[in-house]
């Protein structure tokens, strides 16, 4: 067998990561509610073969709970980053295509949003919208678009100064036509890579806001909730409630981050020939 070239390896690796993420997500969905209702007979078990992550104070299996929590996190992360990425594209294009004052206004808003720590802003928005899934989604979506919007704005400005765009204009094409035919196709890779790199941030924020009690309600099996519950038992030596779900979260986040990096490598023309 001839050895695989770099791009093939990256593509295979990316595919494996993707499958892994989908598997985690699917597991979480497929696990029934009964499976995570525990019995007090099993409470406070350290990790063993039957319960790889141990059980919590109510006797619920932590491995299944973590999986379920992760699938909630992935949903929240995906939806929130999708909304955020769409906002970023719209805002970025508006800034680059509009008049000078539109650009100035948008840049000012971006600076404003970025100057406030995300966590505080998300707490405020989530709280104002009555917490829960909706508040959390809106909070994350409203805070994560800034850097991608900047990137897209720069990209559009650069594209608009290209000679082929100038030629297109002189051939009688309208701004809208140029936007859809010349500019948008160039932004597709930016959009997807930006979206996926935003994803882990969104998940971490979801977990931390839920941990602080401003996000998902306590009955949801979210990672943030598990972690915040674990705080009460840490001092009694029940380390597994905090450590194992926490580690899993970190792993998933790293996985998504790597996935985004690899995707960028595939799509980016500068690293295309490596």
């Amino acid at each position: 067998m001839k050895s695989l070239n770099h791009r093939t390896k990256v593509v295979i690796l990316t595919a494996v990561m993707f499958v892994l993420l989908v598997a985690v997500y699917a597991c979480g969905i497929l696990i029934s509610e009964e499976a995570v209702t525990g019995s007090f007979l099993n409470a406070k078990r350290p990790p063993c073969l039957e319960h790889p992550f141990g059980t919590d104070a109510l006797g619920r299996d932590l491995f299944l709970r973590t999986l379920k929590g992760l699938s909630v996190s992935i949903t929240v992360g995906l939806v929130a980053s999708l909304i955020s990425a769409v906002i970023a594209v719209l805002v970025g294009i508006a800034a680059a295509n509009g008049s000078k004052w539109v650009d100035a206004l948008i840049n000012w808003i971006i600076d404003l949003v970025m100057s406030v720590p995300h966590t505080i802003l998300i707490i405020l928005i989530s709280f104002a919208l009555g917490r829960g899934l909706k508040g959390l989604l809106m909070g994350i979506a409203a805070t994560h678009w800034c850097s991608l919007a900047r990137l897209i704005r720069g990209e559009v400005l650069q594209l608009r100064s290209q000679q082929y765009v100038a030629v297109s204009r002189k051939l009688g094409k309208s701004s809208g036509w140029i936007l859809t035919n010349h500019l948008l196709p160039h932004l597709v890779p930016q959009f997807f890579v930006g979206l996926i790199l935003m994803f882990p941030h969104a998940i971490l924020h979801e977990a931390s806001i839920s941990f602080l009690g401003f996000g998902l309600p306590p009955e949801q099996p979210a990672i943030g909730i598990i972690l915040s519950e674990s705080m009460r038992y840490l001092s009694t030596g029940m380390w597994w409630i905090a450590v194992l779900p926490g580690l899993t979260l970190v792993l998933i986040v790293l996985l998504i981050d790597k996935f985004g990096d690899h995707l960028r490598m595939i799509l980016d023309p500068y690293s295309a020939q490596e």
Partner: protein
Amino acid sequence: MEQKKETLLEIHDLSVSFRMYDHGLEQKDLKAISDLHLTVHSGEIVAIAGSSGSGKSLLASAILDILPDNATVQGHMHYKGQELTRERQKQLRGTKIALVPQSVAYLDPLMKIGPQADGHYKPKPTEKRRKLFERFQLPEHTEKLYPFQLSGGMARRVLVSTALITDAELIIADEPTPGMSLEQALEALRMFREMADEGKAVILITHDMDLAFEFADRVAVFYAGTTVETALASDFKTGPEALRHPYSKALWKALPQNGFEPIPGFQPYAGSLPKGCLFAPRCPYKTEQCEKQVPPVREIRGGEVRCYHGA
């Protein structure tokens, strides 16, 4: 004028190919330079003339071993009779072989021009550099500027100075003159001439035919990544009857001052080179042999030609 000069650089059957992704995940080798022959003697200016995309700049990178990672080099290069290995290339570049880069992008944007042109040499050649700048009509404060503050023409003159400042025996000038005014360009070329007269050698890479045979001693004609003919510059002034390769003759006839008559067809693309002679598809004299096998290099009337029929 026929005196035996020392051979400085000798290139035999040099090929450079690039691994490129073709469609999806398949990789393909693109041969950008194929079976190239070039000899440079000390004391002469050799012009390499060809259109953009014919592999001229790659040759410079190959001599200095500054090609990108996905490139592979085959063939032999000898410098002063000794094989030019990677080790030696590393040793020689910047000291004995200097490059005048093609674009302003080769300057460090965060470094002032003066120290940048002085380079790493010890002792600092500041005096010499100031004299060079003066000859190039670069104002005195140029050395305190950053690259982005230079005009295109100024940057070119700085780039040429960075090469002339060294004690190099061989200077490879990659398109040194665009952006310069006529007199600045002439001054730069005069300085190359002086260097050559001092016994050094200059490889002048250019797409400008007029420039090539006005200032060089010999002209190597590039076509699709190879030298089809190396002729004395004077042959180009004499006319097509003094030239050896059908492509050089066609070039001569296509010059605006000579006839402006093109031959039909196109230079083949690096991905789809013909099997035999690279010029065969457009050649009026081609025979079956030309299409089967790459013709060897032959010496005719003091020039080298890669053609079965050239005379």
